[in-house]
C-alpha cells in the first residue's frame, strides 16, 4: 500500500467519524429544540400568572382596607354618641336619647354588613392559591425540560425525570383560568344554559 493510500484511508475514516459525530450532535439539538421552545413559552406565562396574583391580592386588600377604614371611622362616632348618651342619662335629660340609640343600632347593623363584606372578599385566597399552583406547575414544567436537556447531554434516559415530576405534579389542583374579576361566563350566561337544559 502506498503512503497516499494509507493517508486517504485514514482521512476517510476520520471524516466518517466526524460525520457520525455531527449527526449525533444534530440529533441532540433536535431533541433539545422542543424542550427549549416549550420552556421559552412557559416562563412568560408563569410570570404573567404571578403578576396577576400580585395585582389581584392588592385589589382584594384595598377592598378590605376601605371597609375596615369605614368601620374604624364609624367606631369613633359610636364612642362620641355613647358619651353623649351617658351624659344625658347622668343628667337626667333624655331629650334626643332615642334618636341616639337608633343611630347606634344603625351603625351596628352597618358594621355587621361590612364584616361580611370582608369575609366575602377573602374568597380571593382560594383564587390566588389556584393561580399560584398554576404558576408553580408551569415552572415545574420548565424545570423538567431543563432536566431533560441535561439528560440528553449526559446520555441518560430522560423519561425517568418525567416520571418523577409527574408524581409531584399530581398533587397540584387548580383552574388555569381562575380569576378574581375576569369571569369567562357571567351568571346570566350560566343561568341561560341551565334554563335551556331544563326546557329540553
Amino acid at each position: 500500500m502506498k503512503i497516499d493510500d494509507i493517508m486517504y484511508s485514514k482521512m476517510q475514516s476520520e471524516i466518517a467519524a466526524l460525520a457520525s459525530s455531527i449527526n449525533e450532535i444534530v440529533g441532540k439539538f433536535k431533541k433539545l429544540q422542543h424542550p427549549l421552545t416549550e420552556s421559552r413559552e412557559k416562563v412568560p406565562k408563569a410570570t404573567e400568572q404571578l403578576d396577576k396574583i400580585s395585582e389581584q391580592t392588592a385589589q382584594a386588600t384595598h377592598q378590605m382596607l376601605d371597609t375596615v377604614e369605614g368601620i374604624t371611622q364609624r367606631e369613633e362616632q359610636v364612642k362620641q354618641r355613647l358619651n353623649t348618651l351617658k351624659e344625658k342619662i347622668t343628667s337626667g335629660n333624655l331629650d334626643g336619647a332615642e334618636e341616639l340609640i337608633d343611630s347606634l343600632i344603625k351603625t351596628a347593623e352597618q358594621t355587621y354588613e361590612d364584616v361580611y363584606t370582608i369575609m366575602d372578599t377573602l374568597q380571593f385566597q382560594d383564587i390566588t392559591s389556584q393561580q399560584i399552583n398554576h404558576a408553580a406547575s408551569l415552572l415545574e414544567e420548565v424545570e423538567l425540560r431543563l432536566h431533560k436537556i441535561i439528560s440528553v447531554y449526559n446520555g441518560q434516559d430522560s423519561s425517568m425525570t418525567e416520571e418523577c415530576t409527574d408524581s409531584e405534579k399530581a398533587k397540584r389542583v387548580y383552574d388555569p383560568h381562575a380569576d378574581f374579576s375576569d369571569k369567562k361566563a357571567t351568571q346570566a350566561d350560566i343561568d341561560n344554559l341551565f334554563a335551556r337544559k331544563a326546557e329540553s
Partner: protein, 124 residues
C-alpha cells in the same frame, strides 16, 4: 329552610369557612363539610344530607367525578347539587350540567347569589 341539611365540599378550608358563614347568615344552620369528593361520599353515607354545595378542583376526587359517581347511585340520583367553582369556561359549565349538577355559581360569589341559587335549586 330549617330542615335542609347541607354538605359543603371544598378543599380550601378558607372557602369552607366563608361558605358555612354565608349559609348560617342566610338561616341554614345544619351544615356538614368535606375536603374532597371521597370524603364527601363517606359523609353522605352517614349524614342525612339533602343538599350539596361542591367545588370542582379538589385533590383525591374532584367535584365533577364526585357528581358523576353519586349520580350513578340510586339513593343520590335526585339529590340537589349546586356547584361553586372558579371554572367559568362554557365547556366546563356544560360538562357539569351533563354530569347532573342542578345549579352553578362562579367564585367569587356574593351571599345573595348563593342564597338565591339554593332557593332556586330546591324549588325546581
Amino acid at each position: 329552610m330549617a330542615n335542609l341539611k347541607i354538605l359543603a365540599i371544598d378543599d380550601s378550608p378558607t372557602m369552607r369557612r366563608i361558605i358555612i358563614n354565608t349559609l348560617k347568615r342566610a338561616g341554614y344552620e345544619d351544615i356538614v363539610e368535606a375536603g374532597d369528593g371521597k370524603e364527601a361520599i363517606a359523609k353522605l353515607k352517614v349524614e342525612d344530607v339533602n343538599f350539596v354545595i361542591t367545588d370542582w378542583n379538589m385533590p383525591e376526587m374532584d367535584g365533577l367525578t364526585f357528581v358523576n359517581t353519586i349520580r350513578a347511585m340510586d339513593e343520590y340520583k335526585n339529590l340537589p347539587i349546586l356547584m361553586v367553582t372558579t371554572r367559568s369556561v362554557k365547556e366546563d359549565i356544560v360538562e357539569a350540567l351533563k354530569a347532573g349538577v342542578n345549579n352553578y355559581i362562579v367564585k367569587p360569589f356574593t351571599p345573595e347569589t348563593l342564597k338565591q341559587k339554593i332557593v332556586e335549586t330546591i324549588s325546581k
